[in-house]
Symmetry: C2
Subunit: 419 residues, 2 copies
């Protein structure tokens, strides 16, 4: 149980080594392992809460602010919720071993493409200790070892969580080295993790746009980008006014701090007078500050005049940019320019416009007549979410356990040679 | 038709723009487009051969060597073969629009995950002008625009090929900017291409291990690594002697210069006396030089003593490293250490050993009782091959047209909002 590794690289090599045995566990054993982790986290609640108190104390001394302190806090109910989340992941179907393709060559060689674990999943994230457990549970459930690099502010909490999870691995006779943290190596730990090509198989950054940008730019390990959401809703000329109102209020105000919340509403000129007043009134009632272009400000004097930067901003707050567009092409052009390719939705009664929007908008999720808040692994029925990928390679949109697997081809022959 | 772009970046932006209309073409139009390209290449044969003559002349002046000159040469039969290859790609099923997943949420929201083009595919390769046409055809068939950066030695040939393909696009009323070369910008062209994150969606390097390493290390654009093959065959204790002989000779000598050719044979100690003499005699007859460990050299005095570097070498020639191992674990350990994760095969009559090998070897393709030469898009029935991926993200093993697509989620609702 004692970690003797003295460098981040050594830790990662231990994880690589452990990934071999973890990758061969059957589904039932991995399920059992996650239940053991959940139980152990509950049993270790006092330790975890005590470690967290030290981090909180340091955070207060450093005046990191109430919002960060709240994210950092792990009290008893939150530890219990974490354990429950691990149990939920335990119950998901095993993503490993699925047969993805199958063919028999004319010479009788039997090919199977099967889902296999990546090996070692790395993650770099900020001061949310719940990510430590979430990602470790998802990685282990899909047969991977995991290397964690969390924010310095949560270092002691993360260490306690990792100790607890490693304890559960040992209890079950699994290799505890499958869960590693490189937190105590500071910036060097993050740097080594980004350079560990050949040891770490995939790196998932979770956090601010800046953190993600740094990882994307510096990492030699392949990255899955979970990006920001400058999310658009287009109110088409034919939009139903009630749907426009309900969908926009829901997409903005139900939970404004998340990446699938809408940030910009575009309104077709021909719908502006008919639909906008109702939308703006409902937004005002929900406490939303509208940042509008000239047409919007004329109709709604409470609106703040919007500048160029508003179209590119992910507010993550009760702020919303609103712009009147000339037509569908104008809207598509705006979206091409400012979208982060996360989610866009059109509200329309025109099937032709709906299909053009679905075909031409280049985003992970494109919707018709629905709230952008549905872009979510839980809502999509994946049972858990690793993140929402805004890149096109490997995974796009909400990522579940399947996205933490790779594949390999198995070929079974009886002496076939190539002519 | 005249290209007015004055920088590599401008070229790439034109490709990005063109990717929108190319991505919306239906399957029949893309098929027609590829037939038009094939016809145009044939019609432009004189131009292409003349441009190639200039490259060859310069190559001779610079004494680049016979092997490179041969790769560079595009005579009339080779142009005809290129056109035929484009026609073969034209006939492949459209990879775009396939429904990859489908679900209806409890609230009635209908989700579909569909295959979509990446957008812009970039490629950096060496002096093989056939890659120019191969990759462009594969990219266009899968609805992508393409940015090409070939070797300087083939610059004029590539320019003629690109001119010809752009001519075919224009003839059919498609945007010719969908095919771009950045060759004339030299090293800057390659550098800009590797930095074009957000413009180019995926970059596929094709060529030497050094070229691939450079691209993997420097590129900010996501890369699909098509790697080298230090490919192993393990002759297990129970191996059939005739299969061992036929498979090893086929895997080494049928075409030694390719990445799926075997480079190291491991022989279980208990099979050495029974199986090796026949294998070594057949290899000698095929003109293969064996680099053996001590046991092998004792049995086969013609063998060159192998050193550490032999185990890590991709010979790509009629050379083969041969080592006697103690048991399956010893073999797996050797493979873990030296494999490039391309293809490995075991020759065995022991089903338990076969399944352990399949499960534990971490390579793109793992075989039992078959020649490693089958790792090939054509052999796998993909109809065409973009390359053989040795990475785990997005694509692993032979890549066909499907691997040049991403996906997107379409959500069709009637007013759904999140509770």
């Amino acid at each position: 149980m004692t970690t003797v590794a003295t460098s981040a690289r050594e830790r990662m090599l231990l994880a690589k080594d452990a990934s071999r045995s973890i990758g061969l566990l059957d589904g039932a054993t991995k399920e059992q392992l996650l239940h053991a982790i959940a139980a152990r986290l509950e049993a270790d609640t006092d330790d975890i809460v005590a470690a967290n108190a030290e981090d909180l104390e340091r955070g207060r001394e450093q005046a990191i602010g109430d919002a960060l302190l709240d994210r950092l806090r792990l009290d008893r109910p939150r530890v219990a919720a974490l354990a429950d989340a691990v149990r939920a992941v335990a119950e998901l179907p095993d993503p490993v071993g699925r047969v993805l393709d199958e063919r028999v060559l004319p010479n009788g060689l039997r090919l199977q493409k099967v889902a296999v674990p990546f090996g070692v999943v790395g993650t770099i994230y900020e001061a949310r200790p719940n990510v430590t457990v979430d990602i470790a549970a998802l990685a282990l459930r899909s047969g991977n070892a995991v290397v964690l690099r969390g924010g310095t502010a949560a270092e002691r909490t993360n260490a306690a969580l990792v100790r607890s999870m490693r304890g559960a691995l040992s209890e079950l006779g699994c290799d505890p080295e499958a869960v590693q943290t490189v937190d105590e190596f500071g910036r060097d730990g993050a740097r080594e993790l980004m350079r560990a090509r050949g040891i770490v198989d995939v790196l998932v950054p979770r956090g601010s746009a800046q953190l993600i940008e740094t990882v994307v730019t510096e990492s030699l390990v392949p990255v899955i980008e979970t990006g920001a959401g400058v999310v658009h809703i287009l109110v088409d000329a034919s939009a139903r006014a009630d749907w426009a109102r309900d969908i926009i209020v829901n997409a903005k105000a139900q939970r404004p701090s998340v990446c699938n919340a809408v940030e910009t509403v575009l309104v077709h000129r021909d719908a502006a007078e008919r639909v906008l007043p109702g939308v703006l009134a409902a937004l005002a009632e929900a406490g939303v500050t509208v940042h509008g272009d000239e047409s919007v400000v004329r109709m709604h004097p409470a609106a703040v005049p919007a500048g160029e930067e508003d179209w590119a901003t992910e507010y993550l707050s009760l702020d919303l940019a609103v712009r009147v567009v000339d037509d569908l092409d104008d809207a598509l052009e705006h979206i091409r320019r400012y979208s982060t390719h996360h989610t866009e939705s059109i509200i329309t009664e025109d099937p032709g416009h709906a299909e053009r929007f679905l075909a031409e908008v280049d985003s992970a999720v494109v919707m018709v007549n629905a709230s952008t808040r549905f872009t979510d692994g839980g809502e999509f029925g994946f049972g858990a979410e690793v993140g929402i990928s805004t890149q096109k390679l490997h995974a796009r949109g909400p990522m579940g356990l399947a996205e933490l697997t790779s594949s390999k081809w198995l070929a079974r022959g009886d002496g076939q040679i190539r002519a």
